[in-house]
Amino acid sequence: MDIFLQQLVNGLVLGSVYALVALGYTMVYGILELINFAHGEVTMVGALVSLAAIGAILGMGLPLPGVVIVLLGLLVAMAVCAALGFLIERVAYRPLRNAPRLAPLITAIGVSIVLQNVAMLIWGKQYIPFPAILPIERYEFLGATITNLQIFIVLLSFCAMGGLVLLINRTRLGRAMRATAQAPQVASLMGVNVNSIISLTFILGSMLAAVAGVMVSAYYGLAHYYMGFLLGLKAFTAAVLGGIGNVGGAMLGGLLLGIIESLGASYIGPLTGGVLGSHYQDAFAFFVLILVLVFRPSGLMGERVAERP
């Protein structure tokens, strides 16, 4: 029982990380119907930039507590990623906004490869360790173990989701975003600056990606120019699982994917009598995705928040 509980906790934390990244995918898709494959790479840039900033701050030798240093690094990463998100949209996607849908998709993959290689040129091919400056504390309950960092990650992704839902449903900006998603031309006739709304969406999504990147590298203790690829793929899967374009769906999809992977890794071996080992956890997760898509093609939470006519 304590093992089951621990696996649920593991899945919840892993799922929260997926959800944080998936929110970025789903925001962009909700408004542009574009799958921004470069999003995983923005996460990677966020992680690497924050590590560089943290290294620089540590190098100055200021007597700051570890949490403050990480927060400062996070702020720098968010600023850089916001600029990067804006730039990506401006340079790579805006010129193609009226092109066939395949064109921006290919561009997105191209941007992702470019970002990977630029990061490799800047930071090298090595794994960059996350300095051990965060005080990690373990808590035990009912035989399961959770650390303060894990709790923080889960809370953060719920807050990010809550904040996004409020932003979209309760603010003027959110209304403009929904209007843009429904009918960009009509929205612009109503005085909505469609271009700046789309830019803002990318900036917000990229800032979330920066947060996710910093969390991932703090949690696993390393960052690497390649880390965005698999993370992006998993987060995209999570977004599709929950229903892409739907903020709640991204959250649900992320958490579900994390929990399925954890439980899969734990029980797939014993259940199949050792025929399939725990390394099939990824395959298992994708198998569940296929099942869901067969019966609910638009994902678990279904329709996008707004449907374009």
Partner: protein
């Protein structure tokens, strides 16, 4: 009678003709460009003949830093020979390095192997991983080109019956035996949990450790698997924690081993962590930080400071290419052995220097190098290390 005689004469002639053909083929296939007929060689004896040596390692992807390290080792050896000047078969030889990226992918490995064969290399140093060295070895074997891996340790690599497949690195069976005995005898492991990353390297080592530990009377309580791209091991570590092992062995590389030991501490899994040479790297200590203290790992061969020419090599290498990651000394030695065999055979034709290479005794900077009948290094050393105060220290 007469008829019989003429037939035998004919067949003799035929055989001779075939032999000549064979030789001609060999010549045109293996002599590197530009091919110059022997008659003209007097004129252009001063122009150095280009002899191509291949190096294959992952230069992109998660193990790119190790791949670059190997490539630099090969490059350094080749540069040194070129600087000193080498004359083989009466001709001045200029070695040229052709470096290829196999991306740690078995399929890409065969493609780049074929590419090197087509470009006429006379020998290949590589590949870095067992998973890529094994499929590529068939291609080199078919072409008759010697392949010396500086770092592939899977037993299969030299067990396929290819005369061209060799290595200067202790193999997994030799290393796994030492690790398994260490886990049982020194760490007093009664219950051992084993994880591998499902690569030919990780799996081979883990299987060997499991075999030796079981033979020594210990129990393998858990056998879990991950991949060489994962960073999250909470799920399998939780499953292992339920079996409360004394020793956790991981067959894999440091990008997984580092996060894994952190997550062990996060979960409160108290087993002694043990790994092979893929883990015994400076980066593991950096990634694992304080959680890495007290971890044991083995490394085939000797530590740099115990290598006969280790310190001198380290000085030269660091000045040119930066910090040594891991296998550069072996890549350097593998290249030296290859070239020494050519010098001793006085030929750059693989078919001629391969038999010499197989029986060569060479004292390299990593130690004495000689191959057994399978192509494994004779008497490969294994050293155990422990992380103490943030650095790998050899266990006395």
């Amino acid at each position: 009678m007469l008829q019989k005689l003429s037939i035998s004469v004919l067949s003799c002639l035929f055989a001779l003709g075939l032999g000549a053909c064979g030789k001609g083929d060999e010549f045109s296939m293996t002599t590197s460009t530009p091919t110059t007929p022997p008659s003209k060689s007097a004129n252009i004896a001063e122009v150095a003949e280009i002899v191509k040596i291949g190096s294959v390692s992952p230069l992109t992807g998660p193990q790119a830093h190790l791949g670059k390290d190997n490539e630099s080792g090969v490059r350094m050896a080749i540069d040194e020979y070129n600087q000193a000047g080498v004359t083989i078969g009466g001709k001045k030889i200029q070695f040229k390095l052709l470096s290829e990226d196999d991306q740690t992918d078995p399929k890409t490995a065969t493609i780049v192997a074929q590419k090197l064969v087509d470009e006429g290399v006379v020998g290949v140093i590589g590949h870095l991983n067992s998973g890529t060295s094994i499929p590529a070895s068939k291609i080199y074997s078919d072409a008759g080109i010697p392949q010396i891996s500086p770092s592939a340790t899977a037993v299969t690599y030299t067990n396929q019956g290819f005369k061209t497949a060799m290595r200067v690195m202790t193999n997994d069976a030799q290393q796994g035996k030492v690790l398994g005995e260490f886990a049982v005898n020194v760490l007093k492991g009664k219950k051992i949990a084993i994880i591998d990353d499902r690569t030919a390297y990780g799996q081979g080592l883990a299987d060997e450790v499991a075999k030796v530990a079981q033979a020594a009377g210990s129990q393998v309580v858990a056998r879990e698997f991950t991949t060489d791209r994962s960073t999250d091991f909470m799920a399998i570590l939780t499953a292992i924690k339920g079996k409360s092992p004394d020793v956790l062995f991981f067959g894999g590389m440091e990008p997984q081993a580092g996060p894994m030991v952190k997550q062990m501490k996060m979960l409160g899994l108290k087993a002694q962590y043990l790994g092979g040479d893929g883990m015994q790297m400076a980066e593991f200590v950096q990634i694992a930080g304080a959680d890495g203290e007290g971890v044991y790992a083995s490394s085939p061969g000797n530590p740099l400071e115990k290598m006969p020419g280790g310190l001198e090599f380290s000085k030269k290498f660091t000045a040119k290419y930066g910090k040594i990651q891991l296998y550069a000394p072996y890549a350097y030695d593998a290249t030296n052995v290859l070239i020494e065999a050519m010098k001793k055979a006085d030929s750059t034709v693989p078919a001629k220097f391969l038999p010499v290479l197989a029986t060569l005794s060479y004292s390299g900077i990593t130690g004495p190098i000689a191959f057994d009948e399978k192509g494994d290094i004779k008497g490969g050393a294994v050293t155990l290390y422990r992380v103490q105060k943030g650095a790998w220290v050899p266990v006395p």
